[in-house]
Symmetry: D2
Subunit: 347 residues, 4 copies
């Protein structure tokens, strides 16, 4: 299965084409809608006031409720766009947004309205694709869950068992420790009040993956496949597996996961490696954490340049923005993880 996301924030529609979807999957559209709703903005003060129409219309690859096996394309129409808001940004690139890099890359031809193809809105088709991937994985007993592990330095409780992540999909603010969750939300609202934004992290796990999947080689190892999918999510700037960056603080005797026999199966006593040894799954849950940068869109005045005059310009970004994308990114990261899981399994 392969996916291509297309569209721009202020074009007629965005969408995704999935190729080589296994034929005969009875698509659970309610489950799809649930995933879409988790990502959709609005409904709480933690995210943007924009309303986005997120109902995917499947125009190919589905026949009588089942996947056909030939390319599946879904469209999500755009609406509620305020193109006016963005006109001023055309030659005044927003700091840490893609504006300038894209301006060079595409010779000034990119659709800059609402971030164009770089808009966070493009994660909607990704969630749709991920919803299909999740259903395919579920058929093999593989599940995906995630929690907000960090907002502005405030950490969620540690993940003891991946199963604890499943009920979080129903929560408005998916953390294991609600007290920490309250502090996180406070940090977001304070940033919002200041016209600012905050960064954070999401920890995600897949369980049910068999041992022995992957290869050590370039582009074939589990870490490489997952990171490819994860770094395709806007705002992701770091990916760590198992203990991740904390491995730098450890000795081998602490970091190593002893093998044990449990109910006739080989398991590891700990899972510091995040379920991966030598680029291959070892049968334990695959666990990783991604770090998302603070939304570059803030209301505070910022220094930038006028690309025409090539001189200093003080920019104040108008429009409606998320003070923190981490909350809405949770289903997106799960989607990317599910798609990576499918690639790994040759689905």
């Amino acid at each position: 299965m392969n996916y291509t996301i297309f569209g721009e924030s202020h074009g007629p529609a965005i969408g995704v084409t999935l190729t080589r979807v296994p034929a005969g999957l009875e698509l659970d559209m309610e489950a799809v809608a649930k995933e879409m709703a988790r990502r959709a903005p609005g409904g709480n003060p933690l995210s943007t006031a924009r309303k986005e129409s997120d109902q995917p219309e499947i125009i190919s690859g589905l026949f009588r409720g089942k996947t056909t096996g030939t390319p599946l394309t879904a469209l999500i129409p755009n609406g509620d766009t305020h193109s006016r808001d963005y006109e001023a940004l055309r030659t005044h690139p927003r700091p840490s947004h893609a504006d300038y890099a894209a301006w060079v890359r595409y010779g000034g031809n990119a659709d800059y309205r609402g971030g164009g193809h770089f808009s966070g809105r493009l994660t909607a088709p990704l969630v749709f694709a991920g919803a299909i991937a999740k259903q395919l994985l579920a058929l093999r007993g593989i599940k995906v869950g995630a929690h907000i592990s960090n907002i502005y330095g405030i950490c969620d409780g540690p993940l003891e068992a991946p199963e604890d992540l499943l009920p979080l999909a129903e929560k408005g603010f998916p953390v294991l420790d609600d007290a920490q969750g309250d502090l996180m939300q406070q940090a977001i609202l304070e940033a919002k009040k200041d016209g600012d934004s905050v960064g954070g992290a999401i920890e995600c796990a897949l369980w049910g993956l068999p041992a022995g999947i992957g290869d050590p080689d370039l582009g074939r190892n589990v870490e490489g496949i997952f990171s490819k999918h994860l770094f395709a999510v806007p705002a992701v700037k770091a990916v760590g597996f198992g203990m991740g960056v904390a491995f730098a603080l450890m000795r081998g005797s602490e970091a190593n996961d002893p093998f044990q026999v449990k109910e006739g199966k080989v398991v590891t006593a700990t899972n510091h490696a995040g379920g991966i040894n030598g680029g291959i799954t070892n049968g334990m849950p695959v666990v990783f954490e991604v770090t998302l940068r603070p939304t570059p869109s803030i209301s505070l005045p910022q220094e930038t340049v006028d690309l025409t005059a090539m001189e200093r310009y003080e920019l104040t970004v108008e429009g409606r923005h998320d003070p923190c994308v981490v909350l809405r990114a949770v289903p997106v990261i799960e989607a990317a993880a599910a798609l990576a899981g499918c690639e790994l399994l040759g689905i």
Copy 2:
């Protein structure tokens, strides 16, 4: 340019095939040898006592000192192998090594002697490939450098300017702050004395890359291309770009890099984004940090299982091992970065 590494630690030879190397590159074999020497073990108490013959023999793709443009294959013969040391490990997987995962993946058919295809020795052909990539990048004014940024929690001084990394290639222990370097080495030797190992991190930069390279899409964005190459290096468990995981602790107003005009060029005042916005280079140095887990090979007795009897087994790993792979990994990470840079530029 594409590369395939082949070989096993105790086979006749390891090597690499590079396809689509640009024709006409006058290969600087002295520079290649220098890179190989940086990775080679021996010569100091911080690494394994093994001696490895690391002289690559180029058997195709080079004619009269210049690349032909057709596939270039280099062989590195093996020698000084003690296969006996490993025989016992066959059915007793070393914790956190690839042994068990590979045993499942390859149905018990992998060459387990000396780690086989999973041996750190396989990074030698990677360094060779990277040496060619560096020479190709240098023709375009692009340079690659790295330093040890962390050993067991002891951090090197911050990287002020990428140029400071270049002289480090000549240093036995490549850090910016030698006092911190001494503490790091002490930590390694202490771990060694205890029959243990330590993890660490390497920060790497490429400078000279033009703005406007990359795409936001899956498998085409700068972070995705770099992480694919970096996670193909054994022991790498985390990759972060720019501020990396520290983005989780920041507000947008701190994290954003203001654009400025400097000598007629658009630059950013800071480089928290590591030279990448929206998956595309912005013309600033590409900076990232990789975290390497502590070598799983330690001399202390460890708990594992006997895969035949499916019961507990206490394992003591014999053989000669690096107490810390970070030092020898520095040229390996640079090599992976150079190969990623080439892929990015379509070289």
Copy 3:
């Protein structure tokens, strides 16, 4: 540039997503419409009576008339479908159609109405993609042309100069020798009268391609790249370059193309090799011929099986069909050739 075609004959729409289209191409929509019209059915007695709405609606990747460089998706709505006609075919596979192979491949889940994803209608998005490819090639002085070279054994005059192909795009029946063209049309009409169909061949040329493009290796040689694109066109069953199958009848002294210097350039006196030596362009026009099988859809009763009862079934295919797809395939083959040319040039 990469393309993915999606859709089914009787779904809401078919379409195509093109990735990595160079940014800034001012799309000539009139030229696009012209290509679409060449492929569209109706208007003459040689093709099906179906009317197809072939107006592509571009929903992404185009901004203010220029390509943005991000994925470009075009939709072509379906209409004038008679799904009823096909219902009977569901378990009675039409001989030499994809029905049975697809039934096995997709476990009976493919949309069988009107051939579904296997319908010749899916060549409409291919022609659209090819129209863009042609415009990109034209910017580099590369042109594409084709003629019907054979219908039911009646051959067109030989191609003396590729330039002679250009005006044929304006002709209703694109042959060099109209007398032969008349015989061909007669053969088609006779087959139609008999409820039968005929096969044929198309010869196509690209000129303006520089020498030195391609590589001998798997998947990189010119013949391999072109044939990949050509065999993705339904009904194509053979591809030959230059003299093609006639090479089997030749001696080296006849087949070899002598090199000559002409106006300071190296050319070949003849072009039996079709512009390709060793998998690399030699600067002469790339010339090839594709053979298309007779349309499997004929009105005559045919022997097939009932897949449910697993017994003999006599099938009479209803519906409106082309007695010969070769005429409408001419712009399709040109499109595939243009897309191959783009791949070859790294566009």
Copy 4:
């Protein structure tokens, strides 16, 4: 499984790296040697007088006689080279050889001795790779066979049943009709006597492939996958499936293959489609024919250019050459077909 062939005719060795070979295949080295011997020159007056050492040395990916699943590299040392013979050709490209195209492509840096990477000798590693592919296919009951179907217009008897091809692997001149084979050999010897060469064709079949493999889409259809592998064989200039170019002479009623039930299985009464409908296998043998051009290397004087002086040059090619490559190409085409079969099956 993927393969990369490397090496030049007059370098130290040529070879191949195979990635993702399934682990645990007990390699039948005798069968490998047999395939190598079929391709090796010498031993009869129909081929070149060169002697080539064709013993592959496997240096990775094989452990205790079984494939490990990690990259498998085999080397074939070069020997018996007469580099002197080729020196004159450096700036006088041989007509219809790759010399000139490669000279432009690689900026004059290619190893021109003995054809370098373009030498027919590079088919030796391909035959080795194919021998492994054949053993993998045999485990699934899939067989590959071929015969010389045409030499200089002299055709072999028609292929009634693919099984008839199997014993041909043991024959010195693999044809079904020995009387025709005698005429073919006569044609080759006459060409040789005249210092000339002849072209021909090979028909090849795979049987045992299940129905329902492949997809209609670009790069995924059966014809596309096979032709990719076949056009990577030097001298192949045309590929046709089933009736191939003869489809242009047929009506649908003749060309269509009626479906029938036979022993509880769906089969087709004829196999004009060569086992492929809509780019997907239909369970019948996959049958195709490839056309090979006459060897460009002939002893007759030929017109070419001096690339330095840019003027006319009369060239007489020295050295030892095959008057017809078709005979030695039979195992090469089988190898390419076996590798295509593996790709198709996801091996």
